[in-house]
Symmetry: C2
Subunit: 140 residues, 2 copies
DNA sequence: TTGTAAAGATTACAGATGTAAACGAAGGAA
DNA sequence: TTCCTTCGTTTACATCTGTAATCTTTACAA
């Protein structure tokens, strides 16, 4: 299974349609995508093909207008890509980044509660300070 | 000022050195980067040039071994890139993603406290549910 | 003054990406 | 049976990226 990091931005947006619908024909995907982008039909077809090649989408070729299904779960993809980005942030700045994200995201009460209790658990063993390791090695 | 999204991954890692040091010569950057990567000197020089062209780094050409300085602040760059990624996530999944991120990041007690109080404030006006808008328009 | 090392600039090149047109096959209308 | 419409496949192409070698210009050692 190809790494999620190889999924390009445009491809990611195509996947969102399939993740949300569960499965769909290219026609449906094109229809929905054109509500959010100005991509030409051909462009979207190309992206679907690339997603198949990368192993993120599978076409059921039995029925004629193929029905495409995601081969990777949305939550897994999100997990990988979000953590991947965080891996390239300065360790010291991650807390801030998360705070910033919370400020800019709409989050449901129940998710907020989950996060709060996670944090309450986490604070017990949290370090006083997180060391920056941007220069590699220790000895900052 | 060029958008942070145009900063490639490799370039980002070069910036981290300059952000951390505040300023540095190419030699220093190369030295530090070679502690974390196996990039050849030439590769790093190319990346520095590209960062200059994109307007993220500036060279002080007065002194001879040029001294490079970031033209964008790390926190701003992090803000932009992290929020940019979140913009392409399903709204419904952002809470989960943040929880996941917290699970996988080392965060200082003080940052955790900040986040907790932010959440306590936020929960007051938080929605019961967040709507998915992956298909564009309303009428999911 | 001149050679040389260091550092900056130019050139290179394959693969990924955004963006799409054109081509070909398959199924339905006539 | 034949043509047109769909839909999938191929081809296209400029730009960006990763990755680097080479060329050129400076500053310093001799």
């Amino acid at each position: 299974m190809t790494k999620v990091e190889t999924m390009s931005n445009a491809e990611w947006n195509v996947m969102r349609i399939f993740w949300t619908l569960g499965q769909a024909t290219s026609k449906e995907a094109i229809m929905y995508l054109q509500r959010k982008t100005d991509w030409k039909e051909a462009t979207i077809k190309t992206l679907i093909i690339r997603l198949q090649k990368k192993g993120f989408l599978k076409a059921d070729e039995a029925s004629r207008p193929y029905v495409y299904t995601p081969l990777i779960e949305e939550s897994d993809a999100i997990h990988e890509s979000v953590n991947n980005l965080f891996d390239s942030l300065c360790c010291m700045k991650k807390g801030q980044a998360i705070e910033d994200l919370i400020n800019n995201s709409e989050i449901s009460k129940s998710d907020i509660n989950d996060i709060i209790s996670l944090l309450n658990k986490k604070i017990i063993s949290a370090p006083e300070e997180v060391e920056c390791d941007c220069l590699g090695k220790e000895t900052a």
